[in-house]
């Protein structure tokens, strides 16, 4: 190529060249602002928002968990109280029921004893009477044999009965 290329001096000032360079810098500023800074800043902001949201969610979840825990704690302590109450009331009732049962048993035993005593007394009386009858019969028989004669049995009998009852009373 035989192009005749001129070149500037090492120092040569040209207003238009200066102006072009100034405009170039403004152009670069606009390029960086619109194409690099704007999308990057937007992305960073979005990420910040996302992170903030995650933190907020975590915080609210933790708060919810804490309040729930407090609720459970309260419930648990309530349950303890309730359990103690239930146990004490149950024990009281058991005590009462047990006392009742023992009293009842005692009473029934006393009753049974009394009835048995009564029966024994009745039996004894009955046996006594039988014995009295027998003895009086025997005495009459013996007296007949001894005296050898017939006496008014009924008279004698009442006489002897009187006598024996006197003995029985002394014994009974």
């Amino acid at each position: 190529m035989s192009l005749e290329i001129q070149s500037l001096d090492v120092i040569s000032v040209n207003i238009w060249q200066i102006l072009i360079s100034l405009v170039n810098l403004v152009l670069i500023f606009l390029i960086l602002k619109k194409i690099l800074y704007k999308p990057v800043r937007e992305t960073l902001k979005q990420r910040q928002n996302a992170v903030d949201k995650i933190y907020d969610d975590a915080n609210s979840a933790r708060n919810a968990a804490m309040s729930e825990k407090a609720e459970y704690d309260e419930k648990l302590s309530h349950a303890h109280d309730e359990a103690t109450e239930i146990v004490s009331s149950a024990r009281e009732r058991a005590q009462r029921v047990g006392d009742e049962i023992v009293n009842d048993a005692n009473r029934r035993a006393a009753q049974l004893m009394k009835r048995a005593d009564d029966e024994i007394a009745g039996q004894r009386k009955k046996a006594m009477n039988e014995i009295k009858d027998e003895i009086s019969g025997l005495s009459v028989d013996i007296a007949e044999k001894v005296i050898g004669r017939e006496i008014n049995e009924s008279d004698n009998k009442s006489l002897i009965d009187e006598f024996i009852s006197g003995i029985g009373d002394d014994n009974g």
Binding site: I5, I18, I20, S21, L25, I28, L32, L36, Y37
Partner: protein, 305 residues
């Protein structure tokens, strides 16, 4: 993350957008660089000259390369922000977020909460300056070794400085020149003008000097090999490795350093020149005046009724 075919195609397009301008820059350089013997230290090659008032519009390598680099940066931005997700799926997203957050932190540290809108501007200065300086690694002419380019940036920064100084009120701005004593006014005016000039020349000078020293050293080593006897003198093998070491400093380190310095100075000058107290007072006064005006209006309306 599963990349769909469409996603891959768009990715390839963006990567093409990043690489193609650099390749184009190389090709243009190779096609237009006039073969020259010896050292040639000159400014950028001129492609077009458009007659215009005041001065002709000259389109040189600096402008073309700047535009190519802007396309590369556009490609980088598109590539990095392609497929952004709330939950990062791609490595490039981490890179994009890291870049934005690092620059944000830097701006917050040096300028304060009020100037957070400067973050893309600072990032823009850094990447444009750094890539411009580094473009010499692929053989392109560094736009930053042209005084016009850095002067344009410095003037933009100067406009921003003045804009924020004027936020404290015009009277306050004028008064700041006569501080601490009136005699120092000329000095203050000079230092005000010196700010953009020094910024422009510092950046330009560093990059250009690196290029000049590299050219000198390369030429020196080339000449040195020619003095060697026999076949050794035929191949300029000394040029092969040694300039790379210097290039490491002048092109990579110095280029990144100057980009960082330019960005730091921008932050410090803009936030340092901003009269915070005066601005607050002025805002308060403005609010009170607006309140009074509203009250007066309400009263007038009531009178009418």
């Amino acid at each position: 993350m599963n990349k769909t075919l469409k996603f891959r195609i768009v990715d390839i397009f963006y990567l093409f957008l990043i690489i193609a301008p650099l390749v184009a820059g190389m090709v243009i350089k190779v096609l237009t660089e006039p073969a020259a013997e010896g050292i040639k230290i000159a400014g950028a090659n001129i492609f077009f000259t458009i007659p215009f008032f005041i001065q002709d519009i000259v389109i040189t390598e600096s402008q073309i390369n700047s535009w190519l680099i802007i396309i590369t940066i556009l490609g980088i931005c598109l590539y990095l922000t392609h497929g952004l997700k709330t939950v990062p799926g791609l490595k490039r997203q981490h890179l994009a977020e890291m870049a934005v957050e690092k620059v944000d932190a830097l701006v917050l540290e040096n300028m304060g909460e009020m100037f957070m809108g400067f973050s893309p501007f600072i990032a823009g200065i850094m990447i444009l300056s750094a890539l411009s300086s580094l473009s010499c690694l692929v053989g392109m002419y560094s736009p930053t070794s042209d005084i016009n380019v850095t002067a344009g940036w410095a003037i933009l920064v100067f406009i921003l400085i003045t804009h924020y100084k004027l936020k404290g009120g015009f009277g306050n701005y004028l008064k700041s020149f006569a501080e601490p004593v009136v005699i120092l006014t000329p000095m203050n005016i000079i230092s005000e003008i010196a700010t953009p000039v020094s910024m422009a020349f510092r950046h330009y000078g560093n990059v250009l000097s690196g290029a000049v020293i590299s050219a000198l050293l390369g030429s020196f080593l080339g000449g040195l090999t020619k003095k060697l006897p026999g076949i050794l003198g035929q191949i300029p093998f000394l040029r092969a490795g040694i300039p790379a070491v210097l290039s490491l400093y002048f092109d990579i380190f110095s280029g990144c350093m100057q980009a960082f310095i330019f960005a730091m100075l921008t932050m410090l000058y803009v936030s340092g020149g901003f009269p915070g107290e005066a601005y607050e007072k002025r805002m308060k006064r403005k609010i009170e005046r607006a309140k009074k005006r509203a009250e007066a209006k309400a009263r007038a309306a009531a009178d009418k009724v």
